[in-house]
């Protein structure tokens, strides 16, 4: 029983980390705790979470997806370019384009046996070119009409809560269900933990990896769509500087970069930790010169706290 409690405690470390950060900031600036502000902070975090949510599957395999930033930018361009002509179909096409990027990553990793680090980096480059092509090398504005007609689900409010938060929570629920209730989710964990044994059990591991990359692509695509909705435009650089924070929030949440251990809610908490640190610095009034330094240090410390070393033998 005490083992179980320890396990539970270990699992909750990221949550405690988040609480400590929130309370720390609140102690300095109580306005941070106002419900409206908390909802805003959460809403602002959701695009980061969406991007990281799918990539969590890939990282749990022990692989990595570095194409998510380029994929998100690309889908924003496709959405913005197509909305005026095709309306809601544009949403589906943009999402499908994200999924297609995942398909490509999966194929390259599986069939050419190229490490995902390089494969997805390269696919990211290709997606950037697609984004330039789709956008005709410009930022494309989304008109208010199109926005209210097709993107209200992402940017409006429902019962006083920003829709981004609702989308984020739906994704959190859906992906958590996939990860913990389905056979696929279990196999993702198994592959990350001991790939050879899964192969020897007759599982088509390539299919698992492939699906994980597709989910990652789809979620990055969704992140791009929501981003486009929020910012009212699509641009080949819309999601730039998102990649490393997204990977960071997966790891900060306690998912092992070596694979096998992790969950979507941890990524959710990780994204909130990253956001709270960043926004918290603005709240506390940390000078902008020190912000990057503080952010870097907090990142390392947060991982030092949240990572579960009992399940990882060799730290690389």
């Amino acid at each position: 029983m005490s083992d179980k409690q320890k396990e539970l405690l270990r699992n909750l470390v990221p949550v405690f980390t988040l609480l400590i950060l929130v309370l720390g900031i609140a102690a300095y600036e109580p306005r941070f705790l106002r419900p409206a502000n908390l909802i805003t902070v959460t809403a602002d975090t959701m695009t980061l979470f969406l991007m990281a949510s799918g990539a969590t599957f890939v990282i749990m395999l022990g692989s990595i997806d570095l194409s998510i930033q380029a994929v998100a930018s690309m889908t924003s361009c496709i959405l913005a370019a197509m909305l005026p002509m095709f309306g809601g179909t544009a949403l589906l096409v943009a999402l499908a384009a994200g999924g297609l990027a995942g398909v490509l990553s999966g194929l390259v990793v599986n069939n050419f046996r190229i490490p995902s680090f390089v494969a997805t980096l390269a696919i990211g480059g290709i997606m950037t070119s697609v984004a330039f092509w789709a956008s005709n090398e410009r930022s494309i504005y989304i008109s208010d009409n199109d926005k209210s007609a097709w993107l209200d689900w992402a940017t409006g409010t429902t019962a006083g809560i920003d829709n981004e938060v609702i989308v984020g929570i739906l994704v959190l629920a859906a992906l958590t269900a996939i990860l913990s209730l389905t056979r696929f989710g279990r196999l993702v964990r198994a592959v990350g933990s001991q790939e050879q044994a899964v192969v020897a059990s007759g599982i088509n591991v390539n299919r698992i990896k492939f699906l994980a990359f597709v989910i990652s692509g789809l979620m990055a695509g969704l992140a791009g769509i929501v981003m486009a909705a929020r910012l009212g435009s699509g641009s080949p650089t819309l999601a730039s500087e998102f990649l490393l924070p997204a990977i960071a929030c997966i790891i900060v949440g306690g998912t092992a970069i070596t694979g096998g251990v992790g969950s979507i809610w941890k990524t959710f908490v990780g994204a909130l930790i990253i956001a709270v640190v960043r926004i918290g610095m603005t709240f506390v009034g940390v000078t902008v010169f020190a912000q990057q330094i503080v952010f870097g240090l907090v990142l390392v410390l947060a991982v030092a706290m949240t990572i579960d070393r009992t399940k990882v033998s060799v730290v690389k």
Binding site: A177, L181, T182, R183, F184, R186, L187, R189, A190, G192, S193, Q194, Q196, A197, V198, V199, A200, S201, G202, I203, N204, G260, V261, K311
Partner: protein
């Protein structure tokens, strides 16, 4: 004679298992001591204590007359106790010379730079001691298994002349991968070594142990049960001490061996893998247990892995229920009806990060899910049934796999294929490294599987196991079938007969 190494009432416990129970033994200067015992008898625990990987719980260890407790294999090595591991400790990406002096490059340093010429020259000296004629600058990945083994022995011998104290070399199953002439050479080397060092020789080949050693200890269930001078011992005598009884038919549940077999399931026709085995053909029926005997390198491991879909065949046919099947990938093998229990349990048998039930249903997952969603209750119930039936010691179905003992882990692996419903179980050393009680449970399960009509291909840990369990035995030698023995209850072939066909 003076004792170099002395163990006095050494006890070592692991959760739930007393691995060593008050073991006392000594090794004298310039002596070769044989150490034998079945798997699970405590040999590997003893080795790990000597190597400084485990600490002893009670008792004393003296080395060179002084109380000793090694902190690490390196510590033991530096003080003169060196071992050649069963699982090789050669780093393949380094050269021969670098492996021999790994961690001890200091003597070749000139202003922080390794003097490679000096190191290679010194390595050459050590290699000469094992009569291995190869370039010390060769990468170890380019050597074959036997040569790497010799490099390991050379590494152990490099202590000679570098430290003042006596040297004890522990050879853990050194002959298992060697060919006959290499074994002969090794024994000659051991004879030469006796002038410089003491040797502990661990092997399951009793004839070799008697041939090379001066004295023999027999371990069983974690205790020394017998000690004798080699010249006074016989193979059968040692064997009986090892298993603790006269050959007992009940041990292998021979009474449950099926007399009448079901319909034919598997036909193998001229199956080959280049460089491993050639033209293997046989038929297997429901409930039949086919034992495969052969030394390492005979091709039997490759054959087992081939049926597991892990090594694609280069020629021949495999028919299940009369239909040809392709085995280029494990999932093809599994869907064809093969259930492969690998010898490397930790890396290929179980997924350490998953729970007991998740491991059990790893292969049969589809049966426990609807539209991809897992039916947890159905899964739990089924797994609980198997846990009860196989007497798997686990607090619950959700227990992480890593907290189970080796024997219980192996039962989980076996149940994985039972749950899946494999027609042909391919068991590659199913009792490797598990304790005696669990072994009997495994034997019981094998008989049950046969009773239910599963055809079984067995690569046993010991010859005795193969003989005891099988209906029929194929002996492989250099990749070809050298003999076939029928093994009906009451008319089992003799170990000697098999060995004569193996080597």
């Amino acid at each position: 004679m003076e004792s170099i190494l002395e163990l006095e009432s050494v006890t070592k416990e692991f959760p739930g298992v007393r691995a060593l129970d008050s073991v006392s033994m000594h090794v004298d200067r310039n002596e070769v001591v044989g150490l034998i015992g079945e798997n699970g008898a405590g040999k590997s625990t003893l080795v790990k204590i000597l190597a400084g990987i485990h600490r002893i719980d009670a008792g004393t260890m003296k080395f060179g007359g002084e109380q000793a407790s090694f902190r690490s294999p390196r510590d033991a090595f530096d003080r003169g106790l060196t071992m050649v591991f069963q699982e090789q400790s050669i780093i393949q990406t380094l050269t021969v010379a670098e492996n021999i002096f790994l961690g001890r490059e200091r003597e070749f340093l000139r202003f922080g730079i390794i003097d490679k010429r000096a190191m290679n020259a010194a390595a050459k000296v050590e290699l000469a001691k094992v009569h291995l004629d190869c370039d010390p600058a060769t990468k170890c990945a380019n050597l074959d298994f036997a040569a790497r083994q010799m490099v390991e022995i050379a590494k152990a011998l490099s202590l000679d002349g570098r430290i003042d104290s006596d040297i004890v070399i522990l050879l853990d199953e050194p002959t298992s991968v060697l060919e006959r002439r290499e074994i002969d050479l090794l024994f000659e080397i051991i004879k030469e070594l006796k002038n410089k060092a003491s040797i502990i020789f661990i092997s399951h080949r009793l004839d070799e142990v008697l041939q090379v050693s001066d004295r023999v200890y027999v371990l069983r269930d974690g205790a020394v049960v017998h000690e004798t001078a080699s010249k006074d011992a016989t193979i059968t005598g040692l064997h009986e001490h090892m298993v603790g009884r006269q050959l007992d038919h009940r041990y292998y549940r021979e009474n449950k061996q099926r007399q009448s077999l079901g319909k034919p399931v598997l036909s193998i026709r001229n199956l080959s893998i280049d460089g491993e085995f050639r033209n293997l053909s046989f038929d297997l029926s429901e409930g039949e247990i086919l034992g495969i005997a052969g030394v390492v390198g005979s091709g039997r491991e490759a054959f087992a892995r081939c049926l597991g879909g892990l090594l694609p065949p280069s020629g021949g046919e495999i028919l299940i229920d009369g239909r040809a099947v392709r085995l280029n990938h494990p999932h093809q093998a599994v869907n064809a009806g093969f259930g492969f229990v690998p010898s490397e349990r930790k890396s290929e048998g179980i997924v350490i990060g998953l729970s007991v039930s998740e491991n059990m249903t790893l292969a049969a997952g589809k049966r426990f899910s609807k539209f991809g969603f897992i039916s947890f209750e159905r899964e739990r119930a089924e797994c609980q049934r198997w846990i009860d039936r196989l007497r798997i010691r686990t607090p619950s179905t959700k227990t992480p796999m890593q907290s189970l003992s080796g024997g219980n882990q192996q039962k989980v692996v076996l149940s994985k294929w039972q749950i899946f419903g494999s027609k042909v179980a391919v068991l590659d050393h199913p009792t490797r490294g598990i304790d005696v009680g669990a072994k009997e449970d495994v034997y019981e399960l094998i008989r049950e599987m046969a009773e239910q009509g599963v055809a079984i291909i067995l690569l046993g840990d010991t010859l005795e196991e193969v003989i005891g369990l099988s209906n029929v035995i194929l002996v492989l030698k250099d990749g070809e079938v050298s003999a076939r023995f029928e093994a009906p209850v009451g008319a089992k072939p003799d170990q000697i007969d098999l060995i004569s066909k193996m080597v």
